[in-house]
């Protein structure tokens, strides 16, 4: 199927690894120009080299902290300078880690009864401000073209908080991020810009593996036991793959998906129970 986004210019944050990397690859596969961004320069540069081999001359990389609006603006400016006006913005920023020794790079751990106020502010900066800043910086280009795709990599907890896990921070902030995208979709529909949010389930990434290992240690269990217990609750009985996230994102960014906006769509193997 022709997705109709040949030569469109895209930005993917968190584009060096895991889900972001898979999204960059999928968009390159559809003929887009892709700017990837991440904080760690070495990993980012290596990803850019590998992606460039797949689509020579169509990928660029700028290291930046995408939770900082100044970092976002620098990436958007660099993208315009290199490829031209931005048409596709994929926000893919993870929540903050409070203590990686304890959390294994998973979401900042803690329950409601123990979570200090400052951590809610940091999580808001990571998940909400980052997505707002990327949209804010790209909307002028999209309006000028009367065409745009804004896509946020959110989480299933935006619809159903995972109260069985000590993840009060994403549980509280993710729904606000989903709401922001719903409202932006309504406000931008007349400009030919769609805005959607992915409700990510458990996807097999390095970070995800690290989280399961941490959880196994924390619960005195084994990696196999905790993942088997979790998989048994997923109707498809397995975790997702990054390219299965990228498949939906590429579709939502396509010309074909022009009538889909304001939606939060799960890629989670069927685990959410909400009707």
């Amino acid at each position: 199927m022709d997705y109709g986004i040949n030569d469109k210019v895209a930005i993917v944050s968190g584009g060096s690894r895991g889900i972001g990397r898979a999204i960059a690859e999928a968009l390159l596969g559809e003929g887009a120009f892709v700017m990837i961004s991440a904080r760690t320069e070495v990993t980012l540069a290596a990803a850019a080299v590998e992606l460039d081999a797949l689509a020579p001359g169509r990928v660029a990389a700028v290291a930046a902290d995408m939770t900082d609006p100044d970092g976002v603006q620098a990436v958007v400016d660099a993208t315009r300078a290199r490829f031209g006006p931005v048409s596709i913005a994929v926000s893919n920023v993870i929540g903050h880690v409070i203590d990686s020794k304890k959390e294994g790079d998973g979401p900042g751990a803690g329950n409601f009864a123990s979570m200090p106020a400052a951590e809610y502010r940091r999580e808001f900066q990571h998940l909400f401000v980052s997505a707002w800043a990327l949209a804010h910086a790209c909307i002028p280009d999209m309006r000028a073209q009367r065409w745009g795709r804004i896509c946020n990599i959110g989480s299933g907890v935006a619809r159903e908080p995972a109260t069985e896990l000590p993840h009060v921070l994403p549980n509280v902030v993710r729904p606000a991020v989903a709401g922001m995208h719903r409202i932006l979709a309504a406000r931008l529909a007349g400009d030919g810009i769609t805005v959607n949010n992915i409700l990510t389930g458990s996807i097999l990434t390095d970070r995800n593996l690290s989280y399961w290992n941490w959880l196994a240690g924390e619960t005195g269990s084994t990696f196999e036991a905790v993942t088997a217990g979790f998989h048994s609750r997923i109707p498809l009985r397995r975790q997702g793959k990054p390219e299965e996230m990228a498949a939906l994102v590429a579709f939502l960014c396509s010309q074909r998906a022009a009538r889909i906006t304001g939606q939060s769509i799960p890629v989670d193997g069927g685990i959410t129970r909400h009707l």
Partner: protein, 188 residues
Amino acid sequence: MDLGITGRSALVVGPDDELGAACRRALAAEGVRLATSIGDGEVDILVAHSAAGGHPSLLDVQAAAELHQSWNVVVDTLDLFRAALPAMASRGWGRFVFVGAAGSRSLDAIDAIDEELDAITSLAMRAAQKVLAAEAGPANVTANSVLRGGEATADEVAAAVTFLCSEGAGYITGVSIDVAGGVGSAVY
């Protein structure tokens, strides 16, 4: 109906407005004592509400600080809830009620663009109520939200708030009840 909360102690926080006054009045009419702070842990009922409107619309926000200004109200409220929880849990009875925006359920209930951020922060508060409901449920502490919209009067909102604080509402937790006159066409 006897709501069964005579002698309980309640703290109503938020702006000094008609809604806050209506909640205090309705609770007092049920024989609830009104506290002015968390104090030394005597609060059984904590009601938090926020003012509607007065925010920049999403597309007019120019700096992250404007977003944080709205978010800080959420953070301060959650911090207060967290502070009140241990005493409620130790007594084995408690009620948290958050009064938020029906716009967090349906775009139809966002009356003006200066209420967009209310809808967004209400979503976060409602999610927090879900988490709090799960954590505090074993201690017989409930956490619910009332979503105001349409032409709801302060007294109509306060009536729902007071019901959720009642003994009879003890099996209702983690839910949001709209007091919005039927505005919004979302099925759930």
